[in-house]
């Protein structure tokens, strides 16, 4: 009998929480934000726009959408390049480190950690458990490393480097669901990251000069030096991608 009551309570609680979720998303649906790639330096969250420049993280209050007010500037480090927002966290890529900031208090980002790496350009993406950083070297970035780094970020204050995988010259990247990571390299490479400590290379989407990738639902948008290509992806069979179009510049 007690078991039944517990089960009943659990179900009721689940239903209530589902209900709250759906009403939340209903409220949010009035706001439509666009989506940037992993090389972006702008990130929208709630009533705030976060930006990074060479050395600073800036916070703009955009409660009045057409009249932003700069409310904070935080010196992060040197040669900052990319900003990626995930839930209440900002992941900042610089030429020699990945920084994680907590924005639970929206106007006062709090530094949680800094993971240093060799000098190179480095976009970062993350989910609830892992962060993925690509490092690439060229004339502007300097350095001599080209690799994909995987961090365990279950403890955001102490990211643990799980592995580094050598690549050709990786640039932008995007997670596709929880299981896959797509990386712009000498082609767009698809990795199975079901086990992030042992990611597996599966397949490539042939692309020359790929710069960055955005995945929205099951659609991939790949920007390269000479084109914008769109692909339909399939979570149940990742190697079964279909080209929708390619607009050549």
């Amino acid at each position: 009998m007690i078991k039944k009551i517990i089960i009943l309570c659990t179900i009721t609680l689940c239903l209530i929480s589902c209900d709250q979720n759906s009403s939340d998303s209903a409220q949010n649906s009035q706001i439509s934000d666009g989506q940037g790639g992993s090389l972006a330096t702008f990130s929208l969250k709630g009533e705030y726009l976060y930006t990074v420049d060479y050395s600073n993280l800036s916070v703009f209050n955009i409660a009045n959408a057409t009249s932003p007010v700069k409310v904070n500037t935080i010196n992060v480090g040197f040669e900052i390049e990319t900003l990626f927002g995930f839930q209440d966290y900002l992941f900042i890529g610089s030429q020699n480190a990945m920084y994680i900031y907590d924005i639970t208090n929206a106007e006062l980002p709090k530094k949680l950690s800094q993971s240093n790496h060799f000098r190179a350009c480095d976009p970062v993406v993350a989910n609830g458990t892992n962060a993925y950083v690509t490092l690439h070297s060229n004339a502007a970035c300097g350095g001599a490393v080209n690799e994909l780094k995987t961090y365990d970020i279950t403890d955001l204050e102490n990211p643990i480097l799980l592995n580094s995988r050598g690549l050709t010259q990786p640039k932008g990247l995007s997670l596709y669901g929880a299981d896959f990571l797509l990386v712009c390299d000498d082609s767009v490479k698809i990795f199975d990251v079901t086990d992030p400590s042992d990611s597996k290379y599966l397949e490539e989407i042939p692309t020359v000069g790929a710069i960055d990738i955005i995945i929205r639902d099951n659609n991939a948008f790949i920007i390269s030096e000479n084109s914008i290509a769109q692909y339909q992806l399939d979570t149940t069979n990742i190697t079964n991608f279909k080209k929708i179009s390619e607009f050549t510049f």
């Binding site: 706001i31 439509s32 934000d33 666009g34 989506q35 940037g36 790639g37 090389l39 972006a40 330096t41 702008f42 990130s43 929208l44 726009l49 930006t51 420049d53 060479y54 050395s55 600073n56 800036s58 703009f60 955009i62 959408a65 057409t66 009249s67 932003p68 007010v69 700069k70 004339a139 502007a140 710069i211 960055d212 955005i214 929205r216 659609n219 948008f221 920007i223 390269s224 030096e225 000479n226 914008i228 769109q230 929708i244 179009s245 607009f247 510049f249």
Partner: protein, 162 residues
């Protein structure tokens, strides 16, 4: 041990000399020229134009059925993607100095060199109006080698390789 350090020091000095021949990191012999605009020209430089050829594709941003592609430090190409099998290049939002954009509903936020610029965009008519310019919230643009340029009343919007 001391000898070793001395030798290493010597080697690194040699390194400097040899590098000087072809390096562009020497601030006195920069391999980049700044592109500058007078402040009034800069502040009136954002214009929505007819489509333009893509010169240097850089970052990508998507919202609903539109794709924005930054042409490095010159502006944004706007594509109508309502038919993904046939995206159409519609407009060029000229914005000298800009690299990044964020869009919420019909409001565009752009980093134009030192300024954050807010535009109100009509996605049906494809028109844009500058709603606000928040001045001097970003640092002056440095060259890819970290060089700096300052002249009273001028704004650096790009650095071009010589």
């Amino acid at each position: 041990m001391r000898k070793l350090i001395l030798i290493l020091c010597c080697l690194s000095f040699f390194n400097c000399f040899f590098n000087d021949e072809n390096t562009s990191e020497d601030p006195f012999f920069s391999s980049y020229d700044p592109v500058v605009l007078a402040i009034t020209e800069f502040e009136n430089s954002i214009v929505l134009q007819d489509m333009q050829p893509v010169m240097e594709a850089s970052k990508i941003y998507i919202i609903d059925t539109f794709i924005f592609i930054n042409d490095k430090r010159t502006g944004f190409h706007i594509f109508d993607n309502s038919d993904p099998t046939n995206p159409i290049k519609k407009k060029f939002l000229k914005a000298p100095g800009a690299t990044d954009i964020a869009i919420r509903n019909n409001i565009l936020y752009i980093n134009q060199a030192t300024d954050l610029v807010v535009l109100t965009f009509d996605f049906n008519a494809l028109t844009a109006v500058v709603s606000k310019r928040v001045k001097n919230v970003f640092p002056e643009l440095l060259s890819p080698h970290g060089e700096w340029f300052y002249e009273e009343g001028k704004v650096v919007v790009n650095w071009i390789e010589k």
